[in-house]
Every structure is written in structure tokens, then in C-alpha cells.
Amino acid sequence: MDYTIECNDPICVLISEIKLIAIKTNKLTKKYGNSLAVNGVSLTVNVGEVFALLGPNGAGKTTTVEILEGHRTKTSGEVKVLGMDPSNGSTEFRSRVGIVLQETGIEQYLTAYEILEQFTNFYKTPRKISDLLEMTGLTEEKDKRVKKLSGGQKRRLDVAIGLCGNPDLLFLDEPTTGFDPSARRTFWDMIKKLKTDGTTVVLTTHYMEEAEYLADTVALMNHGELITQGSLSDLRISHNKTFITFKTDEPQLQLPKDIKEIAVMSEGAVSISTENPTAVLSELTGWAISQGIELSNLEVSRQNLEDIYLGILK
């Protein structure tokens, strides 16, 4: 979905800002004692998108998200979530936001159905319990007590609870940690479905493939700072490296001088990363043919998000 509107009239700009921006922070900062957990983070989340916040442990992702959720207060800076200040904890704010926390604490002795029944009571326009169960694949487990649910099922119940109020904005803090690959794929499909229903999703994750599969926009944090933010394709353009790799048995391979400068050799594998793959590849293959060398396992690959991530953090 594309929400961009060409518009120069100031009123029109104002309206589009209000309608189309779910979250906006400006120089958001959180201090614990002397340490800066979040340091001047300015980010924008558009309505209807899946926004992934990435970063290593301790990067400040959870603190940032908890400020957006209204669970933490900021030290300084500006925050607007759905046009409101989340730290007020107003009923309207809580009614429009769904929160799935990192840790799962649910009353142990109620059934999945009863838990959802209880939480839907809190909202004016809740989702139907049967829909919640179906969306999260818990229909068959609905009469099981929470105590008896598996880890993955509890996590899905977590998400179902987050969706009880039919939120405009859903926060998911590392939702698939500990999932097996097939459970993860099912979960991803559920998030995609939510997105097509118009829900804005803010996701923190360690899994690059998760962000790659789900996110429209990714933001990368490290040491409390926002390193970069953009759509995946923007990131790819700004970190536009291509990998050329091949194997060789020759320990003293004499590559052409300009290729040698950008090549890394280890354990019989050569890896070249370049922003001009066409020229490099042409030179490399020309050289190999003239030398009569076979470039076994020759591979040309685009950087995936993980490469970009690791490259930026280096």
C-alpha cells in the first residue's frame, strides 16, 4: 500500500501528517543514572506498515518500544503515538494499542478462551473471541488451561491478547524467540494478514529473515542510537554491495591487482564485495580464462539484510 500524497498546500500536508503517521519521535532520550539507554532517536512509523526495529542485545530496542507503549517515561525528546503522548496512559491510547511484551505472564489457571473473554471485556469494540482463536491457531486449544499450553501456544495466546481490542497499532517485542521454523512461518503469515487488515505493526527482532520477510521499514539501533532507518530497498541501495565468491585449490593465486585489493581469501575460498559487480566480474572471468583457471562454485549474490546489518555494526 502506498500512502504518499503529492501535496504542497500546508493544510493538506498537516492532514496527511496526522492521518498517515502512526508514530513519530524526535531526539528521544532515556537515561538510567549516567548511562544513555536511548540516545536521540528520531523515527517515523507510517500507518499501515510493518516497522522492524533491529539491533543487538542491549541496543535500546526494548526501552524505545516501551516508551512508545507507555510503559516507560522518556528523559527528553518528543514522542507522539497515534497523535497522543503515550506516557499519559489515557484510556483512549490503551484502547487503540495492542502490546505483546517480551516476557509472557498469563494467569495460569484460566483457559485460553476465558483469558480472551476477560481481556475483550476491557474494550469498547473488541474482536470476536472465535476470530482471535482462529487467527492465532488456538481454536483447538481454547479450553486448555494456560498452564497446559506449550511455549509456542502461550506466545500465540500473548498475541491474541494483544489483538483483543482490535488495535490500530500492535507492538510485538521479539515475538518468535524460541519458535521452531514452521511455527515461525505460521506466525509470519498471521502478521502479514494483520497488515492487510490495516493494522500498523511495530516489531523488534533478532532474526534478520523475520524483518526481511515482514517489514516495510527497518530501523537499526546500536548503543542506544538509531544507525539507519529506511525501507529494505532503500537500505539495499545505500548499502549496495554484491558478493562474488568462488573456490580455489591454488594457495598462491595471483589475482589481478585491483581485484586483489578488494578480495578476501580464506580456506580456499575467495570472497569479493563490490559496488560494481559487472566490471569486477568481467575482469575476473577474463583473467581466469586467460590463465586457464576454473572458478569453481562461482556465485554472485546480493547482500541480504543480515550482511547489511553486520556490515553496519562493524
Partner: protein, 259 residues
């Protein structure tokens, strides 16, 4: 705060509290074990006569209200402080915080449910006392009994909620909660009759809510008393502590682990 609008939600909260409580039979059972153990001890020591204000009664008549006070405080004050701390540590409370459920409704639901449980406990003890020890039911001052129970349970629950704000984590909950109330019970006519205790000690105990609660209950069981109470001061002290408990709960309650 619109009470009419929130009443259905309040009632539903009580229902879920109660469902959750009943599904954990061990917890429910052990709330009853201690009073039963006390009654058993009473049986062993024999049920001779003791003197109370106004005349001579059986030892059981003297001790049953004290046992009731002990159980009610255990299930309201101690019980709520411990469950809340555990629920706070494992993130149950933080989840509620993220929803539109108002804090006051969440707390009132807990207080109401605990009052009901305490009341049920008191009734069970009264029935056992009646059947096994021939202790008269507190029928000649039933209104006083109801009032004492409701006021007592609500006061101790609200104080239990307020006390969680100084408990750092669930490991510390049991020792801290017990340390805060058991010494008080020793000087407050709960374990030992304090008729012959020095005045200054009773004076100290009277500042806190345990003694007024135990004395009020004893009065309701006494065959020589009638009407609401001859010591309205006891109700006043309990009520003052209820106000303290509610205000402190609303002000200092934390939905999240403290460390």
C-alpha cells in the same frame, strides 16, 4: 469515574479472580489448613472455662474469633501481598497495565474477591465451631459480625496491596510479609489473650489494625454482647487503616517488577 458504567466490568473481574482462585485447589485448601490445625490444638488442650468481659465462656468461644482473625488476615493481607508480588514479577500485572482496564477496577476486583473468600473462611470456621465445640453462632450481633468481617477483610487486603510496593521481588515476599504482621499478631490478642498484658503494650497494639479487628470479632462471639459494638473506636481504627491502605495502593502500586 463512572460507577454505573464500570459496574459490569467490576463484577466480571470478581468472577475471573474467583475462577482463577478456585482452579488452584491447593492454595484454597491451605488457607483453611491453619485454622483447622488451631481448632485441632484447641481440642487437645480441652475446652474448659475462661473468663471474658461480662462472664464465663468456654475456651472455644474465646479462641474461635481469634482463630478467625488469624485466618482472615492470612487470606487477605498475606495472601494478596504474595500473589500480587509473584504476578508482578512474572509480568501478569504489566499486561493489565497495557489495557484500558482502570487501576482502581483491577484493585477493587482483588479487594472484593478477597473479602468474599475471607467471609467464606469465617463462615466455615463458625460452622465448625458450632458443630464441634458448641460455640454459639454470632447471631445476636450478626450485623456487627458482617460489618467487622467486611471492614476487616477490605482493610487487610488494601494494606496487603499497599505493602507490595515495598517488597522488592517475589523471593522477598514471604519473609517480608510475615515479618510485617506476625509480631503484631503476638501482641494483638490473636495468638495469646492479652488481658493481663501491660497497658503500654496494648496501647501500642491498638494503634495498628490487628488488635481492633480481633477484639471486634471477639465481641461478636461473646454471648454477653449485643447490638453493633460497645467499642466503636475499633471500627474507627480499622476504617482509618482502610483509607490509608487504599490511598497508599493507588499512589504507590507498581505494575512492574521493582528491580
Amino acid at each position: 469515574m463512572n460507577f454505573r458504567k464500570h459496574l459490569p466490568l467490576f463484577l466480571k473481574q470478581i468472577i475471573y479472580e474467583s475462577k482463577s482462585y478456585r482452579r488452584n485447589p491447593a492454595a484454597a485448601f491451605f488457607t483453611l489448613v491453619f485454622p483447622l490445625l488451631f481448632l485441632f490444638m484447641l481440642r487437645i488442650f480441652g475446652n474448659d472455662s475462661v473468663e471474658i468481659d461480662g462472664g464465663i465462656v468456654s475456651r472455644a468461644t474465646k479462641y474461635i474469633p481469634m482463630i478467625t482473625a488469624f485466618s482472615v488476615i492470612g487470606s487477605s493481607y498475606t495472601g494478596i501481598a504474595m500473589t500480587l508480588t509473584v504476578n508482578r514479577d512474572i509480568g501478569v500485572l504489566k499486561r493489565y497495565k497495557g489495557t484500558p482496564l482502570p487501576l482502581i477496577l483491577f484493585l477493587l476486583g482483588k479487594i472484593a474477591h478477597n473479602t468474599i473468600v475471607s467471609f467464606a473462611l469465617a463462615v466455615i470456621i463458625a460452622i465448625i465451631a458450632f458443630v464441634v465445640f458448641d460455640v454459639g453462632l454470632p447471631t445476636n450481633s450478626i450485623v456487627a459480625f458482617l460489618l467487622t468481617m467486611i471492614l476487616g477483610a477490605a482493610t487487610f487486603t488494601s494494606l496487603g496491596i499497599a505493602f507490595t510496593s515495598v517488597i522488592p521481588n517475589s523471593d522477598a515476599a514471604a519473609p517480608m510479609v510475615n515479618a510485617s504482621v506476625i509480631p503484631l499478631m503476638f501482641i494483638s490478642d490473636v495468638f495469646i489473650p492479652m488481658d493481663s498484658a501491660p497497658n503500654w503494650l496494648n496501647g501500642i497494639a491498638q494503634v495498628f489494625p490487628v488488635r481492633p479487628f480481633s477484639l471486634s470479632l471477639q465481641e461478636t462471639y461473646s454471648p454477653f454482647s449485643s447490638g453493633l459494638t460497645s467499642n466503636p473506636e475499633n471500627f474507627a481504627i480499622l476504617f482509618a487503616w482502610l483509607v490509608v491502605g487504599v490511598i497508599a495502593s493507588l499512589k504507590f502500586f507498581s505494575w512492574e517488577p521493582r528491580t
